[in-house]
């Protein structure tokens, strides 16, 4: 989309202007951060025990898998694409992992295998999107049907995981003090985010991702490896979904083909709330982290509220999401 509010012809004459322009690109992320803090403050003011450090850490513990999946999604959306298959790949990963572990395979074999499977699925979708010029929405929708279909074919029931490594990973807690802890999944997800943020900001690959999102044609004319990069982001997203699936199976201690229904929308929502434009080319991975925290905080507030019926929960989630998006929009617009 063309942004007419900032005419491209304006030359960055003064250094001061450039600093301002730089800051303007941070506005959506900063707005999200500010609103997140306000939302947290409202929670603290209204609910007893909300200020507990563990409440914040639990948001990470409960959403580590979403964070990893959303990180992969960020790369895809930055190129102007979309990946609808993530939730289904998470489900497929948990199902395959649980089935193989149940059959007595070693965790050392299963773990690389499921990660490879997700990566190959992503690679396949990326190849179809690039070589055959199929719309990302449709190619990944087919990938979603395929992954969910294979998972259902393998097993329609929930399979418990009793493997030693898996339970150890699920139960391991990194403690900072009495009652203050995070799970290993949180560490893994944060490492993924840090690597992702580094790649996006400081590597040739990351800059190519932004360039494709800005304009794929210009990127191609500049001689950037558009095809390779585009396939790579879907591969990356496939890997992140598989890793998210592994974390999900740590979290649930089971594999189920109907897991993570609608997680693709959660991931997309997290990315967009974090200030990434769906048209691509603009946004930060840090914003995605904030987006995941917003979704997690909304869930936490609803848990603290406690007495909501299931339909009021949905309405409240919608209303909070609405309030958040509109406020973010208002803040971002005023600063322009």
């Amino acid at each position: 989309m063309i942004d007419v509010t900032a005419p491209p012809g304006t030359p960055p004459a003064k250094a001061r202007n450039r600093v301002l322009k730089q800051n303007r690109r941070h506005v959506p992320v900063l707005a999200t951060l500010a609103l997140l803090i306000i939302m947290y403050a409202v929670g603290v003011a209204n609910y007893r025990g909300f200020s507990d450090t563990q409440v914040v850490l639990n948001i990470f513990v409960d959403n580590a898998f979403l964070l990893v999946v959303a990180a992969g999604m960020t790369f895809v959306i930055l190129t102007g694409g979309i990946d609808l298959s993530v939730g289904a790949v998470v489900a497929l990963t948990t199902t395959v992992a649980a089935t193989l572990l149940h059959a007595g395979w070693s965790a050392a074999v299963v773990l690389p295998l499921v990660l490879l499977m997700g990566t190959v699925l992503g690679l396949g979708m990326g190849a179809v999107i690039h070589f055959f010029q199929v719309e990302p929405f449709i190619a990944t929708l087919a990938g979603m049907f395929l992954a969910r279909g294979i998972a259902l074919l393998i097993n329609r029931n929930s399979i418990p995981i009793t493997d030693g490594f898996w339970t150890a990973m699920a139960e391991e807690r990194i403690r900072f003090g009495p009652g203050v802890f995070i799970s290993t999944s949180v560490v893994i997800s944060l490492v993924v985010v840090l690597i992702g943020a580094y790649v996006l900001a400081y590597t040739r690959f990351g800059r190519t991702v932004y360039a494709i999102g800005g304009s794929a044609d210009s990127a191609l004319l500049m001689g950037l490896p558009v095809g390779r990069t585009r396939i790579a982001v879907y591969t990356l997203s496939g890997f992140c979904s598989a890793l998210g699936g592994v974390l999900y199976s740590f979290y649930m201690s089971s594999g189920y083909s109907l897991n993570a229904q609608g997680m693709e929308l959660d991931a997309i929502a997290a990315v967009v709330i974090g200030g990434v434009l769906l048209t691509g080319g603009s946004g930060y991975l840090f914003g995605t982290v904030l987006g995941v925290l917003v979704l997690g905080l909304i869930q936490t507030i609803i848990t603290f509220q406690g007495t909501l019926s299931s339909w009021w929960t949905r309405i409240v989630v919608g209303v909070l999401l609405f309030a958040f998006i509109v406020l973010q929009r208002a803040v971002t617009r005023r600063s322009r």
């Binding site: 055959f132 010029q133 929708l141 019926s309």
Partner: protein
């Protein structure tokens, strides 16, 4: 060989292939019989079952033509069905035709309001369409459950039953309603300048605004149209099962509708659209669903079968794929 090059040749070929595959499994598949002046048969049944998807699909087509997307259609279906069933349940005489018509009108008016809500969020507040409609998608099912108080409302109204399951002039009423809405959409977009304006907004919102097109009002209008179509589809769905089920009504229909739109050759980036293509796409998807049942594919593999057909479909539809693999005359240059 000109018809092979027609945009809709490949979806039509797949549709014919799917229909033909049914002959081997049920011999009477193509027979259409007349009972009491009504037409019966598998073909009629497919048409009857595709009516809601056709309705939602044509609304979605216009939204996508403006470069937007409407994820809330399933929720709008649930809400309009819920309100209509609630009002009919409150009638003294559930068989009163005027009461039923008023209840249906109330459902459609509420859908219209929801459409204005979506359109305002997108056009006036400037929220990205996928997130703007995601809000109603999440909250909408809650609202539907709120209307029905979390219950599944059953109605025993003969006039209401007619909408989804009745016959008039030998054809199912739902098919006639869908055909009527398609006709209205075609006349409005192809016999007036409206279609051209919608395509202009989808092609470039900025350019169309500078050209003096009321892009904002037009955008709100297409979301309203989409919501009304979804509302009518919701009435058909709930009338067909004589109840309002807030969870099952229109579940995942947004994905099928988007799929139908893309199969029909409308690009998700906006611009040119094809209503006939969408109708073909919707019928194709419903044929696929009927075929999986009629050729006896086990429940576990239904989704896998669907995935394979969708993959084949989007591959043969891709000009690049045909050029590279099927060695057909290349149209890549023309379409890219």
């Amino acid at each position: 060989m000109n018809f092979v090059r027609h945009r809709l040749f490949w979806p039509a070929a797949i549709l014919v292939a799917l229909l033909a595959s049914n002959i081997f499994f049920s011999s009477g598949f193509f027979s259409i019989t007349v009972h009491d002046g009504h037409l019966y048969g598998s073909i009629i049944d497919i048409l009857r079952r595709s009516a809601p998807l056709i309705l939602v699909g044509i609304g979605m087509t216009l939204v996508i033509a403006t470069g937007g997307i409407d994820l809330s259609v399933g929720s709008v279906m649930a809400i309009s069905g819920a309100l209509a069933c609630l009002l009919i349940g409150d009638l003294d005489n559930q068989n009163s035709v005027i009461g039923v018509l008023l209840a249906c009108a109330a459902g459609i008016v509420l859908s219209l309001v929801l459409g204005i809500w979506n359109g305002t969020l997108v056009a006036s507040i400037g929220i990205q369409p996928i997130i703007a409609t995601l809000i109603l998608m999440v909250a909408g099912r809650g609202i539907a459950q709120l209307i029905t108080d979390g219950q599944i409302l059953n109605v025993t109204s003969a006039p209401y039953k007619v909408i989804g399951a009745g016959y008039t002039i030998a054809l199912p009423v739902s098919v006639l309603i869908a055909a009527g809405m398609v006709a209205i959409a075609v006349v409005l977009t192809r016999r007036t300048a409206l279609g051209l304006l919608i395509e202009a907004v989808g092609g470039s919102p900025t350019a169309s605004r500078l050209a003096g097109i009321q892009a904002r009002r037009l955008t709100i209008m297409v979301y309203v149209f989409s919501a009304i179509c979804a509302g009518i589809a919701g009435l058909i769905y709930s009338s067909n099962v004589s109840s309002a089920d807030s969870n099952a009504a229109g579940n995942l229909i947004e994905l099928d509708a988007i799929l139908a739109v893309v199969i029909g050759g409308t690009r998700l980036t906006g611009g040119r659209f094809s209503l006939a293509g969408t109708v073909l796409g919707a019928v194709l998807i419903e044929t696929l669903n009927v075929t999986t049942v009629s050729i006896g594919i086990p429940v576990e593999t239904t989704l896998l079968f669907k995935a394979i057909v969708v993959i084949v479909l989007c591959l043969v539809q891709s000009a690049a794929f045909r050029a590279k693999v099927l060695r057909r005359p290349s149209r890549v240059g023309a379409s890219a």
